[in-house]
């Protein structure tokens, strides 16, 4: 099998203006009484994409998935699958299958019969069903458990049965609602890669709902960050992390330092920002910020260097005092209190076993970063 990277590198239909969207949410709104679960949302997903909906609980991501499956109808707007409007099509006639968070395995049926259930509904001939079930059992490595009932399986095994059952019908789209939520950490990490391999092998479109950002970052081609029924940003994991579109996204994914300030000077490539205490930083890629605009500069901790002396070549260097140090083994996290009172989080990889420039609590320290290390966001 080819390595995932080589297949994936040139897969980016979202950058191709001629690519036909596979799943399309057009101004979809879903209300439950007074509560608006999904608010005027538009989104496109492409064929064979591994798409993740990421958000805190109650952000509307599960409702979105359930509307795609047909368990909920949008209050307004429309959902298209492969050009077909899904409105009014009941779940049992949609070419999508769902893997439920609770797995929803039929307790009175064996593993075999659970997997065969959807195929029997289709009226597939018996020998074909047997062949497909055997194939599915092999795919999820549960051949010897075919005759067991769900209650005789472990959590991880049940998860794999649920997966096998939902892909057995070869749906156009597989919906996964928190597919790894019930597994322990180690199993979850293993299963993430299994899911990615499976998606590649079957060539299906996956839409996965999760609240675990690491899970979404690992598996997805693109991630939609959701909040209060709206999509905040849709982008690849790297873009989400390195170029968040808003404060919310920057905060939601990973750790971030935010410097509030005003644009003092704006040129084609550089932007000079003045902080409240008069400290100045110069950054590249100022985004849409214009002179005098109130902005925030967001920078990830690993892009900040901490040193006891001011680095000679640094464009941006701010002085402060080491306030806290957390040694995590592979890296060390420093909390530096700048002279204007702001606390900056910086992480340094412990590449060497012995540091020549050890910093300790209450030492004077400089934090420095390159002009292209962060992004400028609207306040």
């Amino acid at each position: 099998m080819k390595s995932l990277g080589s297949i994936r590198r040139d897969f980016a239909p979202w950058n191709d203006p001629n690519a036909k969207p596979y799943i399309q949410f057009d101004n979809v709104t879903k209300k439950f009484g007074d509560f608006t679960a999904v608010n005027n949302l538009s989104l496109t997903i492409f064929e064979r994409e591994f798409f993740a909906l990421l958000g805190a609980s109650g952000c509307g991501k599960s409702t979105l998935l359930r509307m795609l499956a047909g368990f909920e109808e949008p209050t307004s707007g429309r959902i298209l699958l492969d050009g077909q409007d899904l409105r009014g099509i009941p779940p049992y006639r949609r070419p999508v299958n769902m893997m439920f968070q609770s797995y929803a395995l039929f307790p009175h049926m064996t593993v075999e019969n659970n997997i065969a259930f959807g195929l029997k509904q289709e009226g597939m001939p018996k020998p074909d069903i047997e062949k497909r079930v055997a194939e599915m059992l092999k795919l999820v490595k549960l051949e010897q458990f075919a005759k067991r009932k769900p209650h005789q399986l472990s959590g991880g095994q049940r998860q794999r049965v649920a997966l096998a059952r939902s892909v057995a019908k070869r749906p156009k789209v597989l919906l996964l609602d928190e597919p790894l939520g019930a597994l322990d950490k180690k199993l979850r990490e293993e299963t993430q890669f299994e899911l990615m391999d499976l998606q590649q092998e079957l060539g299906l479109t996956f839409v996965v709902v999760t609240h675990d950002q690491e899970e979404a970052m690992t598996m997805a081609d693109r991630i939609a960050i959701m909040d209060k029924g709206e999509v905040m940003q849709v982008a690849t994991p790297a873009e989400i992390y390195e170029a968040p579109a808003s404060r919310f996204v920057a905060h939601f994914v990973g750790n971030v330092n935010m410097f509030e300030g005003k644009v003092a000077e704006r040129s084609a490539n550089t932007t000079r920002i003045t902080g409240p205490s008069g400290a100045q930083i110069v950054v590249e890629n100022g985004g849409a910020a214009t002179a005098n605009a109130d902005i925030v500069f967001a920078i990830r901790p690993e892009k900040i260097r901490v040193s006891s002396k001011k680095p000679a070549d640094a464009v941006n260097a701010l002085e402060g005092e080491v306030y806290d140090i957390a040694y995590l083994g592979d890296m060390t996290v420093y909390h530096v209190r700048l002279d204007d009172g702001q606390i900056v989080r910086a992480s340094a990889l412990n590449a060497a076993r012995v540091t020549e420039d050890p910093l300790t609590w209450n030492d004077r320290a400089w934090v420095s970063f390159r002009p292209d290390a962060g992004v400028v966001l609207a306040r």
């Binding site: 006639r93 299958n97 769902m98 439920f100 039929f106 307790p107 509904q121 009932k149 209650h151």
Partner: protein, 322 residues
């Protein structure tokens, strides 16, 4: 001593427990189990033995009205000598008079039909309750239990007022011009079915509700997701999973309905033949205690079959862990 006992009781190994402690906890554990067994012994097994004994004697003009059998009036030897006098004449008699056979069959058939009717009426009620918003479920449950607050006898009497030719039902149907002649319902089997379905409905609804309520609704969604239309999803998922409730409810209705006496007596009139009524007649009208005892023993044996079936089903459900 008590110190040792305490520390040892906390130890995981039972072998390390001192003998007295083991005896103590073992005794308490056993006592808890013994109580229900004693209850069954005194209030079920011994009365049954007495009834069985009476069924082996002959009717006599005496107090009580049967010949003594297997008692200790003549000492131990007399008791054993009594074995030789035992006869199963009363049981033979039950097979000779077609009345009893007919009464048994009618009772079982009526009880079976009533059970099916109760299931048909009760299932939608239980299903509706289980799918109702969680906030109103306790109220619905209360409404199902509410009729028990009134005497059973009065409720059955009330049905006479509803079903009789000049009763409420006929008045309503006549005034709506749906019928021209009053319907004859009272003193027919129809009235018995109505009475049994009405009286035993809660016994059907409650076990059904409890098995439907704990069912995960996402199973139905999963079935639909896999291409199963709602009706088919009901028969393939909901119904099989509610089977323990169906069986429990059916037996809770069927078993008492077979021996039911009050409902056929009040609503079924004189022509209806059911074993409960036959038994009552033998006992009170004929004063033939031995024959009525034999009727009762056969009835009990007849009902052991569904009870054993029930127990097996329960054990199976328990093994499934659901």
């Amino acid at each position: 001593m008590s110190n040792i006992a305490v520390t040892d009781a906390a130890a995981p190994s039972t072998a390390a427990k001192p003998f007295l402690t083991r005896l103590g906890t073992g005794f308490v554990n056993r006592l808890v189990i013994i109580v229900p067994y004693l209850w069954l012994l005194f209030f079920f097994l011994i009365p049954f033995v007495i009834v069985f004994k009476i069924s082996l004697s002959q009717t006599a003009i005496a107090m009580p009205p049967y010949t003594p059998v297997l008692d200790f009036r003549d000492g131990i030897s007399g008791f054993f000598a009594g074995f030789r006098d035992l006869n199963f004449d009363n049981y033979v008699w039950l097979t000779q008079d077609a009345l009893y056979f007919k009464a048994y069959i009618t009772s079982v058939v009526i009880a079976a039909i009533s059970t099916v009717l109760t299931l048909i009426v009760g299932y939608p009620i239980a299903y509706g309750m289980a799918r109702a918003p969680a906030t109103i479920r306790p109220t619905l449950l209360m409404l199902v239990i509410l009729p028990f607050w009134t005497s059973f006898l009065i409720r059955v009497y009330a049905w006479i007022g509803i079903l009789k030719p000049e009763g409420l039902l006929n008045q309503l149907l006549l005034s709506l011009h749906i019928i021209n002649q009053p319907l004859v319902i009272l003193n027919t089997y129809t009235a018995i079915f109505i009475g049994i379905v009405y009286s035993y409905l809660p016994f059907m609804v409650l076990p059904l509700y409890s098995s439907l309520e704990k069912m995960d609704y996402s199973l139905i969604e999963a079935a639909k997701d896999l291409g199963c239309p709602p009706t088919s999803a009901f028969w393939k998922i909901t119904f099989p999973l509610s089977l323990p409730g169906v069986i429990a409810g059916a037996l809770l209705v069927f078993i008492p309905a077979v021996g039911e006496f009050v409902i056929p007596d009040l609503l079924g009139g004189s022509q209806t033949l059911m074993i409960g009524k036959t038994l009552w007649n033998e006992f009170f009208a004929n004063r033939d205690w031995p024959v009525s005892s034999a009727v009762a023993v056969i009835l009990l044996l007849l009902l052991t079959v569904p009870i054993m079936f029930f127990q097996q089903a329960q054990a199976k459900a328990q093994e499934q862990g659901k």
